[in-house]
């Protein structure tokens, strides 16, 4: 039995600390939404009020129906890119992670070391050579090129996380399936993947969020405004001749909301997945 002593002082302290920290964590998100739903004149006052006097949806409507910055199209592009990245990275990553966790192959050590090694390299400078590779593969200005780039940049951590998760599963089930005549692929798809669902949910959530939020690579690889994703489309509101802040923050809010929802829906898998996965190295 767990011994729990509860002092009122301790719980008051807990409540105060949690409240202050929640304020710190959430205020910027609140402020983003608040700026988006406030009429421009009021939002850009030298005496900003915590709560808006007037609420309006006109900024959001203007952003969604803007003729110059096609929001729905860019939203669709972001969705295609993030979802395809997630699927690709899970299928490829789970296979690689399973080989690493349970099978033997030549160069295994080198392979697992290079997975760690690659993550040490500053992303900023990979962008130039990546651009050159993509030009040679004729994959600039293509959503597929972007999906490929995101999938590979997410692969090392996904492989690492899933490898840890697979290692935490009991090996007896696999042995039993093999004795029953299952191939390695059968074992992977019928036994391992269903058992590893929480770990896969964690990896998939993180890959989705990374794919949705990425900025640098998308900025370099995509030029065509009809192929832009939200993160880049957003910057159209920043202009040499002056920034349209209402438009910028409204689009930022519409870009952020879906990913925050996904993250909150799946957050318990992230905790679980990291417990078994990344942590167990």
């Amino acid at each position: 039995m767990t011994v729990k002593r509860k002092f009122p002082i301790k719980s008051i302290f807990t409540v105060i600390v949690l409240t202050v920290m929640l304020l710190f964590a959430l205020f910027p998100f609140f402020w983003l939404m608040r700026t988006a739903v406030t009429p421009a004149r009021e939002a850009f006052s030298t005496k900003p009020q915590l709560l808006p006097q007037n609420l309006t949806l006109e900024n959001l409507e203007r952003v969604i129906s803007s003729p110059t910055i096609p929001f729905t199209r860019q939203f669709g592009n972001s969705l295609i890119v993030a979802v395809s990245t997630t699927i690709f990275v899970i299928v490829v990553g789970a296979s690689g992670a399973y080989a690493l966790a349970r099978l033997k192959f030549k160069g295994q050590q080198t392979f697992s070391l290079s997975l760690l090694f690659i993550q040490l390299f500053p992303a900023v400078l990979l962008v130039i050579p990546l651009f050159i590779v993509m030009v040679n593969l004729k994959l600039t200005n293509s959503l597929f090129g972007l999906i490929l780039a995101y999938s590979t940049s997410n692969l090392p951590f996904v492989v690492w996380l899933l490898r840890g998760y697979f290692l935490s599963l009991p090996a007896e089930l696999e042995d039993a399936a093999r004795i029953d005549g299952c191939t390695t692929y059968g074992v992977l798809f019928r036994i391992i993947l269903p058992l590893a669902a929480p770990g896969i949910a964690a990896a998939a959530t993180l890959a989705f969020v990374n794919g949705w939020n990425e900025f640098l690579v998308a900025n370099v690889l995509i030029n065509d405004s009809r192929l832009r994703v939200l993160s880049i489309g957003l910057t159209s509101y920043i202009d040499q001749f002056g920034t349209d802040y209402s438009g910028l923050f409204s689009m930022a809010m519409l870009t952020t909301l879906p990913v925050v929802l996904v993250f909150m829906l799946f957050q318990r898998y992230i905790v679980g997945g990291l417990t078994a996965g990344a942590v167990k190295s």
């Binding site: 900003p48 915590l50 296979s95 992303a123 005549g181």
Partner: protein, 312 residues
Amino acid sequence: MNKPIASMNPHDTPAVSNPIMRFLDRHAAYVLVLPTVVAIVLINLYPLLYAAVLSFQEAKLGTAAPIFIGLDNYRRLMADPEIWNAIRITLIFTLFSVVGSVLIGLGLALLLNSGFRGRGIVRSLFIIPWAIPAFVAALIWAWMFNDQFGIINAGLKQLGIARPPIWLDRNNAIWSLILVMIWKSFPFQLVVMLAGLQSIPAEMYDAAAVDGANSRQAFWSITLPLLRPVAMVSILLASINAFHYFPIPWILTGGGPSKATNVLAIEAYTVAFNAGDMGYGAAGAMLMFFFIMIGALVYVRLYINEMRTYEK
């Protein structure tokens, strides 16, 4: 009826009739690992080597073919005061943002682990900063820090502070940047630390309580030592991430004012893209890479030693 046992050794190839399938199954490890290897070699390793080669060349954007110049770029780096300034700023940024986010993450994890009603909701609210895109986060904070229209200074004035700080000026910008980085990265620490805390078996605390240990003693002799391996991994990951972090500094301060927040990532990026000096920029990136490697190697060493002392 029981199926016949095809093979007693689970790693032998089971009987499959189709020869192609049999081949694929025998070499399953290679088949499974191939896509990952191809993707990583093509999109990660090749550009990495390319950048390494570039660092030994004089390669300027828009000019003729690059020329091999040996270590010249590296000599220039060593003599460049901007680089030393950038290293100093990067170290300050990394140290304080990692310490800040680890302390906050650990503290909140301990509070959330103690168990109270509504803890699941509180936890999911805390990880919101992690989900917000970095460039959006930087835009919001810049907007909040604004000295004319910003909510932070408006609030401070309401509280009676007549001259609130200018958050993004030369002296304060680096600390404002660190604050934003802590805000963005503490949820990861919180989640990992919470995962670590939850993997400590409750029996250990029960046993300690039976032996008459109070909660403070239990914290120092059970919680912290058992959390240490998890914490070391997450601190390493956070340090690597902060050391070459780009988007928030780039959008929030752009390295300024007067280079007061010019971290190495920004220095390398501006040299490569704005000045078009790809070779020199690549050398700067390689320098960052070496720093991170040294840190990582020292760390792995410590980690292995630690594991050995546990085993003894």
